[in-house]
Symmetry: C2
Subunit: 248 residues, 2 copies
DNA sequence: ACTTTAATTTAACATATGTTATGTATTTGT
DNA sequence: ACAAATACATAACATATGTTAAATTAAAGT
């Protein structure tokens, strides 16, 4: 590893030009759910502004703050989370490239959850007004956004069920599978191998256990030849076995 | 307890006339979130059809079935849930009187979760077409529905976080508090006392533990004078202590 | 009223996971 | 290249929760 930046976590993309990639992940993602016209795409490309680089484990919005604008993950992995006064955190959902942190929140006076980067990220802002205008004037975009949201809700249900039903091993495997699968769908990972720029603390906060236990489970998964994880690169070595262990 | 029917679980309502209460809970609920005109209310009252009485623990929709119409809980408590092949269940959310099981599901080909009654219920059907027409033609109703959904999503986040972070005692207390508070908001319970027509199996599936453990925790809560629970009637005896134990 | 079924309670024991602590590897910054 | 900070690994022990099973109580159906 040689480069001066730490982007290896997120993989292959070289330093980018001024506008490259800003609207890319968003329109690529939305385009999956509804056919978008050239005008739609152009409007989307103007939506995200003020792209910045944010280091890992930085809050974008803290719980309790007023809701102002939405965030778009251009590169890296971010997450929404809930935090208790005790300091304990639970991650609610992962935000991957092209994901918009919940845009429907306009009606809440204050955020009941926070948004933070997990890895190094490139983050763009999406002004609420612009987003709502786009929804009002471009039906195809509105439809794509709705379907994207339905997908996120389905993931959220599965996430909640796994927390309630499964053991830590199952939950960790589900987490790995979700990240690889979603990254693969974005063209950012192979089918069974990809970047995993999370710390074990992050994983623990995803699956609702302690760091120590994440490590324990991970060692066992390595020993049994289920996964390989070195330097934020993950390989799933036995997909069939994984799907069995992780439940349907 | 004398009456021939077992409706005491849900409390005070005597046998009802033909249309009484059908639209009641729905419009009462929606009216909290946006001002509704007389026309709005009239349209809402025509929305729910085919009201039926359903005994406890009956599936309304099973996972994997095609999505046809939405359900409105008129009386009683229902729930959405996920079920594994192993038989293990996790309840995702409670549906109380006036709650509509997620109406946005029209776009999913198949339900990724089921809906079942927990207590005896009165359930009405809501045809998707009618619902969508109402949303398209009545902005106030559409707004109220959106806000109601935002509220449900916030509850879902809190539910997920509790599963990941809290111990069983905390989760059970949160469950009790949620039911009493929501019932109270509907005028169906006092501030600290109300119906709790769930079995301990239901509670276990809500908070993600075993039945035996629910019973253990419940006994301890009774011994410490935190709650009283007899014959599906719940009293919270120490609200301040509860709020401490349950976390913010 | 009676029978059957479902729900609750409790015990004894097995196990998954939490906690605290300490040492080692990796990164990161300079 | 070095120092400082993070992240990872592992151990020993405490505890919350799962499991199985059996006895008791309450509810539902006829």
């Amino acid at each position: 590893m040689i480069g001066p930046t730490t982007n290896q976590a997120m993989g292959q993309r070289p330093p980018t030009g001024p506008l490259d990639g800003m609207a890319g992940p968003l329109s690529r993602r939305l385009g999956v759910h509804a056919p978008l016209s050239g005008d739609d795409l152009a409007a989307l490309s103007r939506l995200a502004v003020r792209e910045t680089v944010v280091v890992a484990h930085t809050d974008l919005v803290r719980q309790g703050e007023p809701a102002e604008n939405a965030f778009l993950v251009v590169e890296g992995i971010a997450a929404s989370y809930v935090q208790r006064a005790s300091g304990a955190r639970q991650i609610l959902a992962l935000l991957l490239p092209g994901d918009l942190c919940d845009p429907d929140l306009a009606h809440l006076e204050h955020w009941d959850h926070g948004i933070a980067t997990l890895s190094h990220c490139r983050i763009a802002r999406v002004p609420r007004a612009a987003l709502e205008e786009l929804i009002a004037t471009r039906p195809a975009v509105a439809l794509a956004l709705r379907r994207t949201k339905l997908e996120a809700e389905a993931r959220s249900r599965a996430w909640l069920a796994a927390l309630g039903i499964g053991h830590a091993t199952e939950r960790l495997l589900r987490l790995f599978r979700e990240i690889i699968d979603r990254m693969h769908a974005l063209g950012l990972a192979d089918r069974n191998e990809g970047p995993l720029p999370l710390t074990q603390v992050d994983m623990a906060e995803c699956i609702g256990t302690s760091t120590v236990h994440v490590n324990r489970v991970l060692q066992e998964l390595r020993r049994s030849g289920m996964v390989e994880l070195k330097g934020s690169r993950l390989r799933l070595l036995d997909r069939a076995g994984l799907d069995t262990l992780a439940g349907e």
